[in-house]
Assembly symmetry: C2
Homo-oligomer: 340 residues x 2
């Protein structure tokens, strides 16, 4: 109901529809293979690009002073944060189009705790699963906190929103309840909701893991963003593992109204949608590329373009701006769109 | 509706009513005067007492091995956490009555950010208020994360639940919407929800601060716990600031059905309910003791005993266990109860 309201009043003073849902892939923002380690430079760069994409002024290239919104101490830094309240109060506005939603994966956070305990399989009568549920949530919400802070340092008014706390739940691992009203309220108030893959309650299994990709698909269905961007650690979807020197980047995939997909570019793979071992980030353990493609295909069928590209590149900046036309020969990444 | 269901089915296999709502006062668990600094020893002790109060076995005093549920790295500790999954999986159960809710204050977290920006006054068109909202939430959710971890290390299956994320909102600073269904679901699944004073959206003011004391009163009204405990840094409510050497501890306060309160013990102050400058923690900036007494009086009127006492003492342990009879001469603290 609330999301319909968001669509029905497109007037200038009414809430605008969501511009973009961004997935910050776990592989892009954490250091794989190192427990609970953030790739600080990659995260900082992704947040800076998000800010650029939100910016309402084209800018002359001169660095602007950013209104940092993380006024908390940083670990290991004894200095208290400095806040120039007078300067901030005098600003005319943020100058940002903040109608974005950020969803991030877990990367090297959460997987250890989830896999040691089998949270995804459910069964809260087991002390191991119950403890693992708590431990998994601690780990993924720690990452969420750090991502909210990184966005806030770039001047993006971000608010962390755990799906579990929002009351989202599943039934046999499929979303059963996922009220987006608080997300919509936050967007309307000018904040950028930051969600994440989370441990949630499941009607039949007691509990399971809800992945960031499923969350994105669900939000896209509810909120009809103009486009969806997946930032990862490789250039897009390949026809085989991207570590293979013969791997070919699939630049454009079309999805028909039955959900079947076919490769449009490169032309040499046209019509090929079987026997291609598509792969992006093999270490993404919540489904990997197959889940990602399937979720992306559902989004594309709605008429929403999906861009999958490498974080921290000129290509990711263009994707975040929605500046990827179908004949962009110089854009590196995968576009998944409806064939209609 | 959901809370009625919790009341209507008291059978052994049905959800039990909430036993206790505990306030971990900001003054007790943080170091006042030092920005964003946790009083680690006080927090650890409060969590250990909570575990003792939840324990279903009386215990012979021998230290039991605790099932720690924080499997994340700790800041500054390079070692990966060790998890004995086999031992955990072999446990018969937690042996804890987890029907508790924890709410904590902000102490030295959040106040700096909130007061520099005036978040409590509202007005999100102001860049300062918008930035302050984000900064305040970052600070208070950082503390929430640390409290959830401290509880989890004591084997308490805790889950962080920010009121903002739960969709709680106010209208002119009074609670307008505060759906507790996810809190109830979490309790039923055997988890201990951990809430906190938070920055929230306000229908009229755009935003404000919702204090932990107001949250406790609201939850007590919804969930009818057997008793409510406020843990603070002094022994209870005094007739004047507790730093005054002549301050007298008010041991028992009665609230009548009109909400008027009178001092029952000590006898020398009987009938005195005016001109007494009651005070507990003067540095508690979200209302101080006056708000606390008012909220406690509302709870007591419902027939729910409220215990206010000093964290980390034998008195706080007895309060958490609900072991405070009206004639306990050796219990140090303030009881607020209905006169009926």
């Amino acid at each position: 109901m609330a999301e319909e309201a968001a669509q029905e009043h497109p007037g200038p003073s009414a809430p605008r529809p969501v511009r973009c849902i961004v997935k910050l892939g776990g592989a892009a923002i954490t250091n794989k293979g190192e427990l609970e380690s953030i790739n600080e430079e990659s995260l900082r760069s992704a947040c800076a690009q998000l800010r650029q994409a939100m910016s309402e002024s084209e800018g002359d290239g001169a660095p602007e002073k950013v209104l940092g919104m993380d006024w908390s101490k940083r670990h290991g830094d004894p200095a208290d944060p400095a806040v120039d309240a007078e300067w901030i109060a005098g600003m005319a506005g943020l100058g940002l189009d903040t109608n974005f939603i950020v969803v991030h994966g877990a990367g090297s956070f959460g997987h250890f705790q989830a896999s040691r305990s089998g949270v995804h399989k459910g069964g809260l009568h087991s002390t191991l699963v119950k403890a693992g549920f708590v431990a998994t949530r601690i780990s993924v919400t720690s990452l969420n906190q750090e991502i909210v802070r990184a966005l806030a340092r770039e001047g993006i008014p971000s608010v962390g929103m755990s799906p579990f706390t929002c009351g989202w739940s599943t039934s046999q691992r499929k979303i059963a309840s996922a009220n987006a009203s608080q997300i919509i309220q936050s967007l309307h108030a000018g904040f950028v909701p930051v969600l994440h893959g989370d441990a949630v309650l499941d009607e039949l299994l007691d509990c399971t893991i809800l992945s960031g990709d499923v969350i994105i698909r669900h939000l896209a269905q509810l909120l009809s963003p103009k486009y969806v961007v997946f930032l990862t650690d490789v250039h897009g979807v390949y026809d085989r593992p991207p570590t293979d020197p013969n791997a070919v980047l699939l630049k454009e995939i079309e999805v028909d109204d039955k959900g079947s997909w076919s490769i449009v570019k490169p032309a040499l793979l046209q019509g090929n949608n079987k026997g291609v071992e598509i792969s992006v980030a093999a270490h993404d353990t919540t489904g990997g590329m197959e889940t990602k493609i399937l979720e992306a295909a559902v989004i594309a069928r709605l008429g929403i373009d999906v861009y999958i590209t490498k974080a921290g590149t000129e290509h990711s900046l263009r994707a975040l701006k929605g500046d990827v036309s179908s004949d962009s020969e110089d854009w590196l990444g995968t576009v998944i769109r409806s064939s209609k």
